[in-house]
């Protein structure tokens, strides 16, 4: 009897640790592969020159610029809106039927496949909003009704919005209700409760959640396929109404459209490395903030 229990116990820890190891091995393998193959091409020139020829030479500067710009604009849209919406839902609204309905809509939105956001962006932002603006300003040719950085950023913003809201909500929920009530009991207004009690405690969680959701957005390609990403533009203009290049999409192009596979393979690896560094960078910032905040609260 005892023997059987011990065997099951051993087996249990063996099986679970095996799967845990698989994750570690897989991560190490992927990163190792990309590092080994991508590192020697990752020169200063690669980062600061535009691509040449059929993209089998030169660097990836406009692609980095386009990616960074898109991520920034996207955050500018989704972070303030997401935080405001989460604050309203959790701290201001009375948590009745409207709250439950809104929250489940947000959860549903977060689960919508990203390609659907792409189609939504094309239909809503490019055609309806862009077309509407053109009509308003009386333009004959298409000015706003074009695939461009602006609509791409908005599409990405909408994609990350529910993720943001959920992240901020989770952070706000970490603050116990009694603390809010204690604040009200010594005469704080609900805004003062948020500012002086909830926010200082939820700050770390909010920032972490925001950074992680932004980094999640930065890794997406599907939503911008139809709304602004370009196959090849040697120079990134930075204009809101121009098209742009994007790391994730560029990888896809390199992998599938290149006539010369041997030439582009190292470029592919280096580009992947840059993309990974970018998203890992975001992630580690998030992790660091979480760690630092936990330290501060536990001092």
């Amino acid at each position: 009897m005892i023997d059987k229990r011990i065997i099951i116990e051993r087996l249990f820890s063996l099986v679970t640790s095996f799967f845990a190891m698989c994750v570690v091995v897989l991560t190490t393998f992927i990163i190792g592969l990309v590092l080994i193959n991508g590192l020697d091409k990752l020169t200063w020139d690669f980062l600061t020159l535009p691509p040449t020829g059929t993209m089998d030479g030169g660097g990836i500067l406009p692609i980095i610029e386009g990616t960074v710009m898109l991520v920034l604009l996207m955050s500018l849209i989704s972070v303030p809106f997401g935080t405001a919406i989460a604050l309203y839902l959790n701290e201001v609204s009375s948590k009745g039927a409207v709250y439950n309905y809104t929250m489940s809509s947000v959860r549903t939105l977060a689960a919508v496949p990203s390609i659907v956001y792409g189609l939504f962006g094309l239909a809503f932002f490019v055609n309806i909003m862009g077309g509407g603006l053109d009509f308003l300003f009386g333009y004959e040719e298409r000015v706003f009704r074009e695939r461009c950085l602006l609509w791409a950023a908005m599409t990405m913003g909408v994609l990350t919005l529910p993720i943001n809201i959920i992240a901020v909500t989770e952070a706000l929920k970490m603050v116990p209700q009694e603390q809010r009530h204690a604040g009200l009991c010594f005469g704080y207004t609900s805004w003062e409760v948020i500012k002086w009690i909830v926010f200082p405690q939820a700050k770390g969680g909010i920032l972490t959640g925001l950074v992680l959701s932004v980094s999640r957005g930065a890794g997406e390609v599907a939503p911008i396929l139809f709304v602004g990403v370009a196959y090849f533009i040697p120079n990134f203009s930075g204009e809101l109404l121009d098209q742009f290049m994007y790391l994730g999409y560029h990888l896809y192009v390199l992998a599938t459209q290149s006539p010369n596979v041997d030439e582009t393979l190292p470029i592919q690896y280096s580009t992947t490395l840059v993309l990974l560094m970018l998203t890992f960078g975001f992630n580690s910032v998030g992790q660091y903030m979480r760690w630092k905040n936990r330290k501060k609260l536990q001092r």
Binding site: H181, A182, L184, C185, F186, Y188, Q201
Partner: protein
Amino acid sequence: MEVEKKALVTKALSITYPNGVEGCKKVSIAVARNEVTAIIGPSGCGKSTFLKSLNRLNDEFGCVYEGSILLADGTNVLALNQYELCLLRGERVGYVMQKPVPFSGKTIRQDVTMPLRGINVTDKDEVNEKLRHALTRAALWDEVKDRLDNLSTSLSGGQQQRLCVARAIINAPEILLLDEPCSSLDPKATQLLESMILDLALDHTVIIVTHNMQQAQRVAARTAFLYEGELVEYDMTENIFSKPSEKLTRDYIVGKFS
């Protein structure tokens, strides 16, 4: 019962939760000034509901009130607007919860002086003076005076509860509401808190909810017995415990039900 100097009077106060539960039914009570009044009764009888209405914390739970709550100067608590309510809670009615609520990440100094930010007291000397005074009255000053910049969460449970009392009295409220303040404390910490309550009652009106009848006998001059949301009996504490006039009260204090 007759009360001469009243600090707070409720008239036919009924409180209904959004789910239809009537937490208090037509409770009329006159609380005497600068005395300790205990509210006792079995679990779920509406003690907390009653107490949380006196500073309208029950607004947060969506309660609907009927009747009135009058302070000594005639203020009807139920008629205050949001802003007046904040002033009332900040300056006139202090509240201490059942479990101590220290704010994580705040030092003892910051924690106790939180209420001062709300009413814009920022002068350093004034803040320090109020801090010292509040902590002294809460019988905590000697224990923490050398570690005011440690985190408030680093204090023991009993100390945290006295810290919450200090926070509640830092603006010298007339009325102090305590909801089972000793329920998470050991006998020694309880004793300390009780003697602190008796000291505070010299110049505060204290209303304390307790399910501990010995505690009511030890600290309260008057005691009110609630049962199923109704005020069954309200009298001097010794009368309640030695010669209660209601059978229900008698059954409760001899422990026939709890």
